[in-house]
Symmetry: C2
Subunit: 471 residues, 2 copies
């Protein structure tokens, strides 16, 4: 299944001196044959303290991808402390009992590695890519910061300013990000996916060192983590190292995830209208709440992936051909399904009106395409093409060691088994036209939708006098 690119607050820490240390070549190994997909049959193990270990052998180059995945994300935050999961992710690069603040990053850099971390609604993950002989050092450091973080008040406050600035630049200064945030808040009436991963600004500003430590103590423990190592190593090697590092951390029986409230049955279509002079052009978005891979039954997630591929992905999609090419009502239009959440997935459509067309005309045209798909489905040829594209993408993506590691991590975090993760292409192959029709009728449901309009200035029709004139 496709790896989510959106809905993650990510920090790329590409260290500029990587190439100086002679690892540049090994970092380009994705193009070397044989394909990692063939070799990639992962194995799963469990340490005595409850930590899961997944090893994905990939011997094309002497490099490894090491990822520590915690089964906790923004959706596990308690009311009032939104952003704490992501804040803690930042703070994980500060001091620990045996490392100075910043030492983690400096060491990775000195060893010629790359590293990265991200927070989604369901997971917080830390990853490093490094020469295989450096793996023991990385594992030692990552294990160290699992339970031995030492936070200084002053550093916490400085980092909070960094995050506020991050929110300003990514969200507050970006009208389409605000629109998405407002639409999520309207889509989820009860479930925490309605709260932004980075947090509400007014709550970020109140986060404390103690909030971060409380979250850390409650969720960071070997029995709440999955170690994923992909690369030029064997399961035996990884397990031996894991026992010597992570294996020494005691199981923490106090680890506890709060119960996430589920959505009530959807009853009413919702709309959000954001007027923001900074918006260059009007943007329309439509969200539908839908199941995720983890919560769906009967291949519905696979069917949604294929349906949205045919309906709205790229310039050969129904939506693009109808709106941009034929009707010329949109200058761009697309959509996708994202199915990586623990409890919910989301169907997204978007479009920008063509010059001289209104956002209402665009919305009517999108609704026309959706109605047509509900009524008439898609063709066998379209479905087969979508399957081929997905399976080709899957294989191609498997050549990236990082993508491979992420695929397993995301799947395991939401509760899939190795077999389910690896069997995805087969499930995709099995999806029928009828299954697509079923999910279209079921999930293109106005009652479960939010429609968002981003407008550079108020629409004339919405003002009172104009409406009165019309009557």
């Amino acid at each position: 299944m496709p790896i989510p690119a959106a809905n993650i607050v990510r920090r790329l820490r590409l260290l500029s001196f990587v190439s100086c240390l002679g690892l540049a070549m090994t970092l380009a190994t994705e193009i070397i044959n044989p394909s990692a997909a063939d070799a990639a049959r992962a194995s799963m193990h469990k340490l005595d303290n409850g930590m899961d270990v997944v090893v994905i052998p990939d011997h094309r180059a002497p490099v490894v991808t090491h990822m520590a995945w915690y089964r906790v994300g923004a959706a596990d935050e308690q009311p009032g402390v939104s952003g704490i999961a992501h804040f803690l992710e930042h703070l994980m690069f500060k001091a620990t009992e045996n490392m100075a603040s910043g030492e983690f990053s400096k060491t990775i850099a000195r060893l010629g590695g790359q590293h990265n971390a991200f927070t989604s609604q369901d997971v917080t993950a830390y990853f490093q890519r490094i020469a295989r002989d450096r793996l023991p050092t990385v594992m030692k450091m990552e294990a160290e910061r699992m339970t031995k973080l030492r936070l200084e008040e002053k550093e916490v406050l400085t980092e909070r300013d960094v995050i506020k600035e991050e929110r300003r630049s990514r969200t507050e200064n970006n009208p389409s990000s605000i629109l998405s945030e407002e639409m999520n808040a309207a889509l989820y009436q009860s479930h925490p996916y309605g709260i932004p991963i980075i947090g509400w600004m007014h709550e970020i500003g109140e986060l404390t060192r103690e909030d971060a430590l409380e979250f850390y103590r409650r969720h960071y423990a070997p029995n709440n983590a999955i170690l994923v190592v992909a690369g030029d190593v064997t399961a035996e090697e990884v397990l031996k190292l894991a026992k010597e590092t992570y294996g020494k951390i005691p199981n923490n029986p106090a680890v506890k995830t709060y119960k996430r409230p589920l959505e009530p049955p959807p009853k009413a279509a919702r709309r959000v209208e954001l007027i923001d002079a900074r918006a260059g052009e009007p943007i329309l978005q439509r969200y539908y709440n839908a199941p995720s891979y983890a919560s769906a039954k009967n291949r519905e997630a696979e069917a949604l992936d294929l349906l949205l591929k045919v309906a709205a992905s790229g310039s050969t999609s129904k939506l693009y051909r109808e709106l941009v090419v034929k009707q010329k009502v949109a200058s761009s239009a697309g959509g996708y399904y994202t199915g990586h959440g623990k409890e919910y997935g989301k169907i997204v459509f978007y479009g920008v009106p063509a010059r001289g067309k209104t956002i209402e005309e665009l919305e009517a045209a999108i609704d026309g395409v959706i109605s047509d798909i509900i009524a008439n489905g898609v063709t066998e040829a379209e479905l087969e093409r979508a399957k081929r594209v997905y399976i080709a993408d899957y294989i191609y993506e498997s050549d990236s060691q990082a993508t491979l590691a992420r695929r397993y991590g995301f799947g395991l975090i939401v509760g899939q088994t190795l077999a389910q993760i690896e069997n995805w292409p087969n499930e995709i192959r099995k999806v029928t036209l009828n299954e697509l029709k079923t999910v279209a009728a079921k999930y293109f449901n106005p009652k479960a939708s939010v429609t968002g309009h981003l407008l550079p200035k108020p629409r004339k029709e919405a003002t009172a006098p104009k409406q009165k004139d019309r009557s």
Copy 2:
């Protein structure tokens, strides 16, 4: 300030045999002079265990109103257990250590009293009205159930079915209730006022005995309660009785209210469209988030009360005269401000389109009246009339012992002082035209609004073909 009638899940337990016991006459004491308002200067006391005691002397008849107010409401529920505050309110009539299940109600009835309980977002309150010489018994029983509730699994499950049925009849079978629920969910993006007091049906169905007891142990204690006694008693008498009953319950230092998340700054107008064939006619509602008496500064809550009185209350209001009488676009129209929440108040407008008029025409007309008020304010004469009406209402309402007790209870719960509660008419008198203009411009803010349409069937304009025709 006006006592909220809506937003409360209430159980009237008017016992039909009250009159048999000769108390019928005393129950009609509201019309007896002298007005209770003159006598009503309450006094406030604190027991050693932290319980507040308020006594409001009212010697017109040998009757008392006894209320136990807990500083906990539906907005204090944790995610996933919506409805637990109200559920517990029901369960409070079951067995305690020294009372059989139902004994509380039976005893009150036998003594010729009435009783009642309700749960709002901010408070849970229990009240009895009874002959003054029965007060010791009532206080003993109410004190008993403050900490000595004994819940049986079977009774809990039966009561849960009662509540599910309550929700079915009040909400699920009532399209306008559903509309309000959906609009609240859209109005509050973060604060728990967005969750219905009675709870989401899917969560009510999962509530357990242990959930109820956990909520009870965390929130029901003398140091989290206010005793309000109004009636034919002196402060000395009440305090003596209170010490002998409530005073014997130990202070519970573990009582703790969770932090309520506040709203992010409003950024985008929201809309909700509910299509329900059971709706007899279309209904339009508009909500604006606004401060409450507890959270407002500079008399803004008083100004909002007066503004909405002039703008939308009754057949002499601007809204009614313009929409129903003059434009004939509405068959009914009105609005009000409700300012009793701890963190937020709400401005509400509503209307029903006249025959032959669309809901869009009605909305445009409402927006026209609102725009006019923002631009031109109201007149001195309108403001003075509104003040007179409010102050008259206040005095008239003060003649009801129950209303009086509720006024103090609601005020104290959200943090007002006795002086603030009793000084309300004076604050109302001070409000200026300019203050009304300020709050109109500030709080008739589309970005902080939700507009709801309840339609018996889908509007034609919203379907794709019609929109295309228009382009």
